[in-house]
């Protein structure tokens, strides 16, 4: 009985955390637009604009579909991103992250992308196909430096579990260790690509390929993609914070610590997101091959330097 109750409480906590995280993501979309507007010296939309947009899209009267494969985009995108968030420790709360590890998270992040790509393919719009091509090439590009950085972390902490990595960083964030400062810088640029912010907003370039994969999406499908976008903001920034900034864990034990950790986590992901937005507003768009070269030439070399350094540290 007690176990059932505690289990239910756990499920409830997980549900609440996930919902809150998604809400934060949607809020961040508005905040992001506001920040960009302020950089542009504009007023910008209200910070709750994300909710309005999503509500409008989902409440559209007619929704079109191109068949059941097209609908997979809707199902996969939300499912995948929420699932990913469940496997990331948020502010020291482990959720399900002890049941999987960083590789799982890395691959879980592919589920929504794959669903998205399936829907885009099924829509039959050539722009969508080109957009998906760009997105996949972007993925191939930014994964290399990111993965190298992640491997460096895993070797240093001798674990693949994100929860373990977060726990090991208690008191000393990875970013404070010299080689990981390089890794973090590299991973931050990879984050720019993951969030599809400029200069890496190549896949959805609206002026070139009519917003790419989303060209044929409207109504509830587009709404679910917006939710997915919101989720990616939280997921990727949290991944970054968990890997390099100790997951925002500053206190241990008790409800108070949880609240404090949550707040620190929020601040940290906000800062990471803001940094990404500031880079976004300052750069034009790369071409896809330029992005590929950037990640595989300069970023990868930096990441490898960090990795070799870490390897040397671990060996000696």
């Amino acid at each position: 009985m007690v176990t059932v109750v505690s289990g239910l409480i756990n499920v409830l906590i997980i549900a609440i955390y996930a919902t809150v995280a998604m809400m934060i993501g949607i809020l961040f979309m508005g905040i992001g637009r506001k920040i960009v507007a302020r950089v542009h010296n504009r007023v910008g939309p209200p910070i709750y604009q994300g909710f309005i947009d999503i509500a409008k899209l989902i409440l559209k009267k007619t929704n079109i579909t191109h068949g059941w494969i097209y609908d997979l985009a809707l199902l996969f995108s939300i499912t995948g991103i929420v699932l990913t968030i469940l496997f990331l420790p948020i502010g020291g709360v482990k959720l399900l992250s002890t049941e999987g590890d960083a590789f799982l998270v890395l691959y879980l992040l592919a589920i929504p992308a794959l669903g998205f790509a399936l829907g885009a393919g099924a829509s039959g719009n050539p722009n969508s196909a080109i957009g998906v091509m760009r997105a996949l090439v972007m993925m191939l590009s930014y994964e290399l430096p990111f993965v190298i950085s992640m491997v460096a972390l895993m070797i240093y902490y001798d674990t693949t579990s994100i929860a373990e990595i977060v726990a090991s960083q208690y008191g000393k964030w990875a970013i404070l260790i010299p080689p990981f400062a390089i890794s973090a810088a590299v991973a931050d640029m990879a984050l720019q690509g993951m969030l599809m912010e400029a200069p890496f907003d190549i896949p959805i370039a609206p002026h070139e390929i009519a917003s790419g994969p989303m060209a044929e999406f409207g109504g509830k499908h587009l709404g679910s993609l917006m939710i997915y976008k919101a989720g990616t903001i939280v997921a990727y920034t949290t991944l970054f914070v968990d890997l390099f900034l100790g997951g925002g864990v500053v206190m241990k034990g008790g409800i108070v610590a949880d609240v404090v950790n949550f707040i620190v986590w929020f601040i940290l992901i906000f800062l990471v997101f803001t940094l990404s937005l500031l880079i976004n507003t300052s750069f034009p768009r790369f071409r896809i091959e330029q992005a590929f070269k950037f990640y595989w030439k300069y970023e990868a070399v930096l990441a490898i330097i960090a990795l070799v350094w870490v390897y040397w540290m671990v060996i000696s």
């Binding site: 542009h40 947009d53 409008k56 559209k60 009267k61 917003s211 060209a215």
Partner: protein, 173 residues
Amino acid sequence: MKYEEWSKISRIASKKSLWILHFCTGCGAIEMPPVMTSRFDMERFGMAPMATPRQADVLLITGYLTVKTLKRVIQVYEQMQDPKYVVAFGSCPINGGMYWDSYNTINQLDKYLPVDLYLAGCMPRPEGIINAMMELMEMIEKGEARGWEKYRKNYEKYKKNQEMAFKFGKVEE
């Protein structure tokens, strides 16, 4: 769940988040950018330019239409998802403007598509555009912008007109 139950919320959401598809036939290229950028900043009302009709709520038709472009406009309009609104810019969609006697110009857009809002002037200034948009928002909130319902209801009539236009160049009345 029925649409009507949500229509109030939906209208409010629509009003605060108007996504625009700009069907540009040449006019408005000077006036639209200031509306989007920092001087007038239409984003503060939740408006944003969109790339495809699937995503957009408002079809902005700037300038005159010919038989050739009308086909595309209709295609684009039909691809948009309800609720959708048409805003016609300048004098040309109203009565043909300075091209009224051309053999090929569509003089009255309203015969082929339900226009929710006309914005007179050749061209209207950015302030005018903002004003028109505010007007449209009010209409949406009040439930007056029902062009899409009208189109659906009188679909036969519109189709007939469109076909006449494609056949003879313009509808003779």
